[in-house]
Amino acid sequence: MRAVATARVAEPTGSLEDVRESGLDREDLLQIYRNMLTTRGVEERGHILYRQGKIPGSFYTGRGNEAAAVGVAMAMGPDDVGAPLHRDMGVHITRGVEPWRIFAQYMGRADGPARGRDGNVHMADLRLGLLSMVSHLPAMLPVAVGCALAFRIREERRVAVAWSGEGAMARGDAHEGMNLAGVRRLPVVFICDNNQWAYSTPTHLEYAVEHLADRAQAYGFDGVVVDGTDVLAVYREAKRAIEKAREGGGPTLIECQTLRMEGHAVHDDAFYVPKELFERWAERDPIERYRAWLRDHGTLDDETEEEITAGVKRLLGEALERAEASPLPDPSTLLEGVYADPEDLDTPHHK
């Protein structure tokens, strides 16, 4: 017997008036588009760099998840913090990480956020409110809960956003973090990127509930299922949950449903994903979908579109050049910072 679905299934994006009411003006709407294009562009160019042999190790992308990542990040406040994962490049882009630093990160250069000490999407700039992920998913989810605990203890109006994939929702970290957040009614929003595949494992071998968001009820808070290819619906639900948390209303678990449009990493051709599934979800490509919506609602004319597309292209071209000029890390610095010095705590967030 399958468990009864309890999570609310979110409506798709409504009229332009509804969208405007959620706090987005024309410039915001175009910025969302720009961020989604930049996100995909970074990963496409990263893939080329990888094939050129310029990226050591492996390479991961979040193709298909651009709307989920950008939609949530747009809903975060400037002082909020988040712990995004390897499908969430859009969060880094939206929070303002410069693309050249991402390319430098990919290539293991000194100017990458991890300065060559860690690779691919294992990066974050805490000054932009982001915590760097680790491979053990979702290890940063309970850490984000700890951030929310600090906000609650100090009675600050700040919110933490914690990401997990649907695969990692099977881990104890997810349970312990969400349980604690529910018990203490902490200002944290959980985002589950449900892209249907944990490496090669399909959802029916990962969980037995209808929706992962149904689990929220067991932790004493609300669950919402949203179409993760519908950026404005994601934004609306994330905004609602974040502001609710800010007002003391406790956590929400938002499940963003997408399909991982590529393999787990670039070495994986995803032969185990049915072709028809790719074809069906390709019709719902988040960027194409949003572009069509913008054009249908008179927000994106030819001139503006060209300007945005050219701007992103220029940004990424310059970013690649700058990243390739970035030096390799100096091996003599290897042992620096294994242990922190007291002055390392002299940061805006540690004070």
Binding site: S132, V143, G146, L345
Partner: protein, 337 residues
């Protein structure tokens, strides 16, 4: 140079001393820090209303309130990761595992996230983890372990193992001040058994400095935690001048103090309550072999628990934990070598 006195407290005036048990000293140090720095919060299972399984935080919740002394769900990962998240946002959490043994449930967070965060992401994680450890009272395989060596092996973590009330207070203060994740192994068998004069005011005992527990000329015992007292008792029973060096912290550890003592006595026993193979004593013995081989008049000896889980029945536990008699035998062998 190992110093017989332990602290870096100001010597402008004579400190007011009070007799405290090892447990009271930890409690006193923690309370001091919570009074002077409201960023310090305590989180763990039963630490609030109940005052902690061993009563280290008794009365804390009344004084500091339920949001600074947090009773947590039975969730070691959430406690540790929660502490790290709060630390990244500017708090100075002191988390407690009810027993050091349960830190295995939080291993992933400590080793994967907390230990590597400064080096990898540039963001220090200033947390303290209190770990009631050690055997001697029939706690069995899951309430008696000394897991410090496992964590000393992980770059990025600091491991502190005080033996005296004065060091317990000074080192808990140092641990809270430290910008790194510090694992504070407090030996349960010392909690109420060991009492001593402790300065009432705040002071910091430096992490990484050994303490000369007893000066001697013929043979050195390098040890920490409860074994300091086992060594002390054994030293009384041999006809030789035994030096006992209490490392106090094993990561970082005071190599210079160890080598200095070895160079003086030329004979050395490394003693610990954790199991032998891969125990931290091996690292100490190897360092002595590398750096002071020419000064040795006998092979470096190790005495540790055998490679076996901690047993429950008193007779078995006695056979497991290094006893005074075992130390006496080894010391005699060293002296006669």
């Amino acid at each position: 140079m190992p110093t017989p006195r332990t602290s870096t407290r100001p010597i402008t005036s004579e400190p007011t001393m009070a007799e405290m048990s090892y447990l009271q000293a930890i409690s006193d140090g923690l309370r001091h820090e919570m009074r002077r720095d409201k960023r310090v919060v305590v989180m763990g299972e039963d630490v609030g209303v109940y005052g902690g399984a061993f009563k280290v935080t008794l009365g804390f919740q009344e004084e500091f309130g339920p949001w600074r002394v947090l009773d947590m769900p039975l969730s070691e990962t959430a406690i540790l990761a929660g502490a790290s998240g709060a630390a990244l946002m500017g708090l100075r959490p002191v988390a407690e595992m009810q027993f050091a043994d349960f830190v295995s449930c939080g291993w992933d967070h400590l080793v994967t996230v907390a230990a590597k965060q400064r080096w990898r992401a540039g963001t220090p994680v200033p947390i303290v983890l209190r770990l009631p450890s050690g055997g001697g009272f029939s706690g069995g395989p899951f309430h008696s372990q000394n897991p410090e060596s496992s964590f000393a092996h992980i770059p990025g973590l600091k491991c502190v193992c005080p033996a005296t009330p004065e060091d317990a207070k000074g080192l808990i203060t140092a641990a809270i001040e430290d910008p790194n994740p510090v694992l504070f192994f407090e030996h349960k068998h010392l909690y109420r058994r060991i009492k001593g004069e402790v300065p009432e005011e705040r002071y910091v005992t430096p992490i990484g400095k050994a303490r000369l527990h007893q000066e001697g000329d013929d043979v050195s015992v390098i040890t920490w935690g409860a074994m300091v007292y086992t060594a002390e008792e054994a030293a009384r029973l041999v006809d030789a001048s035994v030096e006992i060096l209490d490392l106090r912290t094993i990561m970082p550890w005071d190599r210079e103090a160890v080598l200095e003592s070895v160079r003086k006595t030329s004979k050395v026993l490394v003693l610990h309550e954790d199991t032998r193979t891969g125990g931290f004593g091996g690292e100490i013995a190897a360092t002595i072999a590398e750096e002071a081989f020419e000064d040795l008049d006998a092979p470096v000896r190790r005495l540790a628990a055998p490679d076996c889980p901690v047993p429950f029945s008193p007779v078995l536990e006695k056979a497991y934990i290094p006893q005074v008699d075992d130390v006496v035998t080894t010391l005699k062998e060293l002296i006669e070598y």
